[in-house]
């Protein structure tokens, strides 16, 4: 046990004196998690939290357009900024570019007239002459929806759908009121109008998290675990290089002539670097919890199952260390270990859903992403952070990681044996 202890102490001493390695292991992921979270947070808030800014130019002075605007505001999806009714299309576009607003709308001057005309035609058709020709929609002066080209297609369709629904509400209300007034020669009571227009069935939203809680995932909840995982695996630069350096240096020659198995050195490296990965988890998670709010970023909320979090972090850290040692043993030079290590981690991160979320990947990538240990690590963290899962929910995701660890350890042992190093 003393041999192992002395070796761990040696490895930690060597590690702490490698300033470049420490910067790569701690400084780089801290910077990455800060930058990426800040960038993604603005997009995330746009979609989830903030109202979509909408520039609105109402050229109509009638009550229907007023109702239309009020209904849009009540919907809660848009933050309406009115523009002067005299604004033309080019002024509106210029305002959009100046204020970086992504959507704007022009209500034509005959909006109320057209709605009223349609309502009257329907009333005549329904009450007096069913053969009267129904008014065709007039597309000569439609509502004009301007959008910034960067706006996501699906998001644009949802905006258009929302505006279409609002338009139908205004039209429906006008039609019902006209019908009622035509039939009974008196205005419709407000409570009846409300009863007709309000839906009989409500929609109940149920979050599909494992514990049924409605916590909303944000950029922090995704990025902090994701980039912590990246940082863990990026120790391949330091650890892989350290294994090659030791292998190439005279110290390895001496170690081979000492009455102690090299397995002790391998176990020690795993323990020392596992401590490093746990420190990375601690530092980056602490950053998310305490520093992010100071930077106006959402704070990291730890999952309720802290034991599960510890298990996932340990298994991910061990997988990262096993991979780094395997690369170090297989590589012939430090340049090989650093080059292959860095590129392979970036590729494994990309296919594992760290750089691009897995749901945004093509279907053909579904099987490929399973090859990345980072995918399984990230999925495990997602269960805890986004789905509020428990330890037993993690098993299907941790099993592939444990198999990966076994494979890496096996390849390491075989490579050392083949090279007559143990």
């Amino acid at each position: 046990m003393y041999k192992l202890w002395a070796t761990i102490v040696k490895d930690i001493r060597v590690l702490t004196r490698d300033k470049v390695g420490l910067t790569l292991m701690f400084g780089m992921p801290i910077l990455l998690v800060l930058v990426i979270t800040s960038i993604q947070n603005s997009t995330f808030e746009l979609v989830n939290n903030k109202k979509m800014p909408l520039l609105l130019c109402n050229k109509d002075t009638g009550p229907s357009s007023l109702q239309f605007v009020q209904t849009i505001e009540k919907m809660g999806m848009f933050e309406v900024t009115p523009l002067s009714s005299n604004s033309n299309e080019s002024q509106l576009k210029a305002s959009m570019h100046e204020s970086e607003i992504l959507v704007s709308l022009i209500i034509p001057s005959d909006f109320t007239d057209k709605i009223k005309a349609k309502a009257s035609t329907i009333a005549v058709q329904a009450l007096e002459d069913s053969t009267a020709s129904s008014q065709k929609p007039d597309n000569s002066t439609p509502l004009l929806l301007f959008y910034h080209p960067v706006l996501d297609d699906a998001f644009r369709r949802s905006i258009q759908g929302a505006l279409q629904s609002t338009l139908q509400i205004v039209e429906g209300r006008e039609t019902i009121q006209t019908l009622y007034a035509s039939a009974l020669s008196k205005p419709m009571p407000a409570d009846l109008e409300a009863a007709i227009l309000s839906p009989s069935l409500s929609i109940k939203e149920i979050p599909a998290s494992r514990d049924g809680s409605g916590k909303i995932p944000n950029a922090t909840q995704h990025n902090v675990p994701a980039w912590t995982l990246f940082a863990m695996f990026f120790i391949v630069i330091s650890l892989g290089g350290s294994v090659v350096k030791e292998k190439q240096s005279g110290s390895f020659i001496r170690l081979k002539t000492l009455p102690t198995s090299y397995h002790i050195a391998l176990v020690s490296k795993q323990v020392a670097y596992l401590i490093v990965t746990m420190l990375q988890v601690f530092v980056i998670f602490s950053l998310g919890i305490w520093v992010f709010p100071l930077l106006n970023l959402p704070a990291l909320v730890l999952p309720s199952d802290l034991a599960g979090l510890a298990i996932v972090s340990l298994v991910c850290g061990w997988a990262a260390v096993s991979y780094a040692i395997c690369v170090g043993v297989a590589a012939g030079t430090q340049e090989q270990a650093n080059g292959f290590g860095a590129v392979s981690i970036i590729i494994l991160s990309a296919i594992g859903g760290i750089l691009v979320p897995s749901f945004a990947m093509p279907v053909s990538f579904e099987q490929v992403m399973k090859l990345s240990p980072l995918h399984w690590g990230l999925e495990s963290y997602y269960i805890l952070f986004l789905e509020q899962g428990k330890t037993w929910d993690l098993l299907p995701k941790l099993l592939p990681l444990l198999l990966f660890i076994g494979l890496m350890q096996g390849i390491t042992w075989y490579s050392l044996k083949r090279k007559n190093l143990i």
Binding site: A6, T7, K10, R13, D18, S249, G250, T257, L258, P259
Partner: protein
């Protein structure tokens, strides 16, 4: 008649690096007596370092045996056998980021010494080799001579019966060389067998009692140095070396 066991006994050793590479040693045999200060010399590429690596178990021979005090290091790979000897490689075989004391702490544990034993031996060795004042500084900042002394200290810290030294004084100044040679003599007096290789032939004359000259994986001469000089009518090791191995370049 007293029975004496050889410190090193090599018998019918066959070794080549790969099947395609040339044969390095074929039916090679050599004996080094206990308490000897034995020098192993030869031109570049003669096989000195390969032989050192075979004697220390770093390389594995295809056939034959290398017995260290009766234990065949080539066949019996139990790590406990490695306590018998110490090795001072030509390369700086320690961690440059660590101080001499930290290096000794680590290697002491790997030799199987306790923390207390390591502390005692480290203090003693750092004192003898004049490194006490820099014991806490990273070895990477040291001069070549100081690094050589650290290299030596690590090789002898477990007080082995047999010490292999592969060019232990290469690149050091005269003072350091004398200090190292004096210390090796002292270790030999205390009962340690030395197997030494170097290109510093005047230094070797000073240290070695018995020598062997090897070339192309064969022993071309082996005896007491004075006997060999007399036999080949040479005044010193350098003349003997040139007479037996020639003057042509070897590492072309």
């Amino acid at each position: 008649m007293a029975f004496t066991v050889s410190a090193v006994h090599i018998e019918n050793l066959n070794f080549h690096y790969t099947k395609d590479s040339g044969v390095h040693f074929q039916d090679f045999s050599l004996s080094v007596a206990e308490y000897d200060r034995f020098g192993l010399f030869g031109p570049n590429g003669a096989g000195k370092s390969t032989l050192m690596n075979l004697m220390t178990g770093i390389l594995h021979a295809q056939n034959g045996s290398v017995k260290l005090f009766g234990t065949d290091i080539q066949r019996d790979h139990r790590k406990s056998n490695y306590r018998i000897f110490g090795f001072v490689p030509q390369e700086f075989s320690f961690y440059q980021e660590l101080s001499p004391l930290e290096n000794l702490e680590f290697f002491g544990a790997w030799y199987g010494l306790s923390a207390k034993q390591t502390k005692t031996v480290s203090e003693e060795l750092l004192g003898v080799l004049g490194l006490t004042h820099v014991q806490h500084k990273p070895v990477g900042l040291f001069s070549g001579g100081m690094k050589r002394r650290v290299n030596l200290a690590i090789g002898v810290m477990h007080k082995p019966r047999l010490l292999f030294l592969d060019e232990p004084t290469v690149g050091v100044d005269v003072q350091t060389r004398h200090a190292i040679i004096d210390y090796l003599r002292q270790l030999n007096k205390e009962g340690m067998t030395l197997v030494y290789t170097s290109h510093q032939l005047n230094e070797a004359e000073d240290l070695c009692e018995n020598v062997a000259l090897i070339d192309q994986g064969r022993i071309i001469a082996k005896d007491r140095l004075d006997v060999l000089c007399k036999e080949y009518e040479q005044e010193g090791l350098e003349g003997l070396f040139l007479q037996l191995t020639g003057k042509a370049y070897r590492d072309m």
